[in-house]
Amino acid sequence: MGIIDKSRIYSPWLYHLHCGGCNGCDIETLAALAPRFDVERFGIQLVPSPRHADILLTTGCVPKQFIPMVKRIYEQVPEPKVVVAVGSCACGGSLFYDDAPDNYAILGHPDLLIPVDVYVPGCAPKPEAVINGVVQGILKLAEKRTKK
């Protein structure tokens, strides 16, 4: 493992993608990033562009209008990347998604569009649960980096 791989595992950058929904999970995720539950001690930093990110953190279920953006943002993240789905909406669709997806507005969970590596169920998950999910995401990232 080269020095670049090592440093990128120790300090993965995170991009927060809000697909849709009630913003509950976003509030909890931001709490996890803020000083009280500080994920920055694991070297994680919030970045404003997906092109700089290693971890893509998605919240909420995907409305049909947002499908191209989700695909585009996922493609913009450089390889190897890890997708962490936070909240019940992002994991399984929850209240917004029917088993027969004939809804005119909502597609469902982002798993239908992009491969998700770690799921964090909860409505909304506690910041500590988000930290747990992100840490599992880092382990996956390390796996992917060493395999490369």
Binding site: S88, Y119, G122, N132
Partner: protein, 195 residues
């Protein structure tokens, strides 16, 4: 003077405890987290011995996380945690108090099919004595009889209990079809109207 105190306070605040909570917690060895608020609703847990498979949780589930399916004389009651909103409606609805909300919340899993993402209970189904189709769980049949006997009017208690035993083990369709043969038709309660 007052400005000096202000400056002193500012300087001292640098040496106070940081507000970041430790993770995992170092507060006490048995406590993993620094803070769990009282009444936190975490993942639901089901007592496999208490559950009777009555579907009460299935009907109230708002996110359609609970699903019940019968297969090979076995009923499976499932809560899919990816769709669960931890609203505790199933806990309120459960007549046997089998479902309890815990305060566990760290359930990040890497896969949809992970067993940690599901709360499962398997129950045995009774087969109809006549046609052989599985129709109700054994526990639910027993519990129904118990509760019926608890609440029934003492005037009809004896008749109903004998009738119930005659019909015990037959599916609803067979009950309807052979009601006359069993001599369990409700017309025999007509005489009660005069009382």
């Amino acid at each position: 003077m007052s400005t000096e105190i202000k400056i002193l306070k500012q300087v001292l605040s640098k040496y106070s405890k940081p507000m970041t909570l430790t993770y995992p917690s170092t507060v006490a060895p048995d406590r993993r987290y620094s803070q769990i608020p009282e009444g936190l609703r975490g993942i639901p847990e089901r007592d496999n011995d208490k559950c009777i498979g009555c579907r009460a949780c299935y009907f109230v589930c708002s996110g359609r996380a609970t699903s019940i399916y019968d297969k090979d004389a076995k009923r499976t009651v499932e809560i899919f945690l990816f769709r669960c909103t931890f609203c505790a409606h199933c806990q309120e609805a459960c007549p046997e108090e089998a479902i309890k909300m815990t305060n566990k919340f760290e359930i990040a899993v890497p896969d949809r099919e992970d067993p940690a993402a599901r709360v499962l209970t398997d129950l045995e189904l009774l087969k109809c004595k006549n046609c052989g189709t599985p129709f109700v769980t054994k526990k639910l049949a027993d519990r129904t009889y118990e509760r019926l006997m608890e609440k029934i009017d003492p005037i009809v208690k004896e008749t109903v209990s004998t009738d119930y035993k005659k019909l015990d083990g037959y599916c609803p369709d067979c009950k309807r079809a052979y009601g006359v043969d069993f001599d369990t038709h409700t017309k025999k309660y007509v005489w009660l109207e005069g009382i």
